[in-house]
Amino acid sequence: MASIVVRELTKRYGKLTAVNQISLEVEDGEIFGMLGPNGAGKTTTVEVLVGLRDADAGEVRVLGFDPTTESVQLKRSIGVQLQMPTLFPRLTVEESLRLNASFFPDPFPAEQVLEWVGLKEQRKVYTYKLSGGQLQRLVVGMAIISNGRILFLDEPTTGLDPQARRNLWDVFHMLQKMGKTIFLTTHYMEEAQYLCDRVAIIDHGSIIALGTPNQLICDHFEEKAVELSAMDGCDEAILEKLPGVTKVQAAHNQITLYSTNVEATIRELMQLEAENRLAVNDLAIRKASLEDVFLKLTGRSIRQ
């Protein structure tokens, strides 16, 4: 069954169309990611889905509720984490969690959530004294504590160090096992790839690709990526003529070859090196990633 159904949703701010006719469905128990650069329309989509903004056009159902007219019922069954943490500055971590918990019919115990988001030691600290990462984990915790059927998380791991990020991913997977649906936005490729069952890539308010991470990669790349650094630079024209190579991306000495026949490509590379026409360093072969997909679809890197 679909927890979230969105059909041709459009939202404009004045002349700017923030979200342009997007359609998607999120299944019960799924972790669904919206991947895109800043300003792509991710936040606007979340805010419409949770009933904070009204859509200009299109149809939205979340758990069967219309977020515009049935927002009160809807908000009781979902947990929401918005971007840019905002809290009462002089409440402690624990008080903030308990306050949020008190708004929901059947919240998780605060103790449990403190453990999950790794803030047990900071429980008595006023929120204005928390570091950016701690604050971020707290607001994610405040969404989780709702024990809502769907969690809406707008960039839940922004500003976290890699360790904390990985911990949260584990928590999200655990919540999924408990039957929760998670709708999150991110601009971290590896997060979308590792965490999400399905991903929608959004750019300039439109969904440009939608599917499981593997499917997206397979759809757009038969090739694998061969990464190498060329010590003394090299002639791209030569590389393009290597067997199996479909595309060459070079930035300074860092070169990525997309190849349908990695074996043949590498054999030739070795040959070139033996003939002293190329000095190869750090040769690595990897599957193409979502990053590559994004690059191919938009012509730019997500972090630009």
């Binding site: 904070l52 908000k75 918005l82 905002t86 002089r90 708004f103 607001v139 709702s146």
Partner: protein, 357 residues
């Protein structure tokens, strides 16, 4: 209801832990009370009573009685007509005025002796007691009658009070106004810091947020009032004539009026800073044009229309009357109607023009 109470408690904690809140809403009025109380409370504590005596029919008895009075050290006796002496009482030049009636000897009826006294000064009760004792003394010298005189005490509120008496309701009015006006800026702060938005994503109705703010304002008003009155009463000897429920009623009503006006004013503010600016511009002139710190007669005539439009004028009037017993300058009904009008109009405008985002 549970989530509402939780929100009230959380908001209260958040505010009380901010030392600036405590300073502005609690310490500042208290300091004000102490400072100006000390400046204006000079000259109290004399143990000399000015007694006006009106003799209806000079005779042997009145002469004997006056001779008795002359022996009491603490008394300065003034003679005059009833009108003259009562006027002096009104101007606080007398502590009490005693009317000595014509005594018909041979009658068995008790003779009532009216004593008018200034009820705003508790010490005058001592004077009444003293006078009764003097009459007892006179009676004991006239052994043929068991009881002749009863002292008929008639409280009269003096028109002019001590400056510090006038100051107390003034400070209370000021504190309530500032609590209501400046307190409302917090809603702008909550919006600016996106806390309203965060709370808006929970099932908590947005109206709960505003109501919790108002409940907290009223609580703080009660605390302020208690502190100011206690200091006024025990340190500066201000006599509170109203009952506690009258005082509390006036205080809550006043707080509600200024909270509404505050919310109306901050609908025009985008940021916390501009909110403070708007409030400052409004509250400062209001404080001086409302007569809460000095009688309205001191103000030039051309300002009178302004004075009569300002809500603080009427809150001051009510609080003065309830706290220290001055007569209403405009009448209680007028005060309540005008304040109620401000409350209603502000509330409607605030609801109409407030933007949640």
């Amino acid at each position: 209801m549970k989530s509402f109470l939780n929100l009230v408690v959380a908001t209260l904690k958040d505010m009380v832990r901010d030392k600036m809140t405590i300073f502005w809403f609690i310490l500042f009025p208290v300091l004000f009370m102490f400072l100006f109380g000390m400046i204006f409370s000079g000259g109290s504590g004399n143990v000399n009573f000015d007694l006006g005596v009106v003799v209806e029919q000079p005779d042997f008895f009145s002469q004997a009685f006056l001779a008795n009075l002359g022996q009491v050290e603490m008394l300065t006796v003034h003679h005059g007509t009833l009108e003259g002496e009562l006027e002096a009482l009104g101007q606080q030049k007398r502590n009490a005025v005693l009317v000595l009636p014509q005594v018909q000897f041979g009658s068995d009826e008790e003779i009532a002796v009216p004593v008018y006294y200034d009820a705003s000064n508790q010490a005058n009760k001592v004077l009444i007691f003293m006078l009764s004792e003097i009459f007892n003394h006179v009676e004991r010298g006239m052994q043929n009658r068991a009881r002749i005189f009863t002292v008929d005490a008639k409280p009269v509120q003096a028109e002019s009070l001590r400056d510090v008496d006038y100051l107390l309701p003034g400070i209370l009015s000021m504190a309530l106004m500032q609590l209501g006006l400046f307190g409302s800026v917090r809603l702008v702060y909550l919006r600016q810091k996106r806390i309203l938005k965060s709370l808006g994503a929970t099932p908590l109705p947005r109206t709960h947020i505003v109501f919790s703010e108002i409940v907290i304002r009223l609580l703080m008003a009660a605390v302020q009032t208690t502190l100011i009155i206690l200091i006024g009463h025990f340190v500066f000897d201000v006599k509170i004539v109203g009952s506690w429920w009258q005082v509390l009623g006036a205080v809550f009503f006043g707080a509600a009026v200024f909270v509404s006006i505050g919310y109306m004013l901050v609908t025009f503010a985008k940021t916390e800073e501009s909110g403070h600016g708007i409030i400052q511009v409004v509250q400062f002139p209001m404080m001086f044009l409302s007569g809460i710190f000095f009688p309205l007669e001191f103000l030039p005539a051309f300002l009178k229309p302004v004075v009569r439009a300002i809500p603080l004028t009427y809150l001051g009037d009510i609080l003065r009357s309830v706290l220290i017993g001055t007569p209403y300058a405009f009448g209680l009904t007028t005060d309540l109607l005008i304040l109620g009008g401000w409350l209603t109009v502000s509330l409607i405008l605030a609801i109409r023009f407030w933007r949640w985002e």
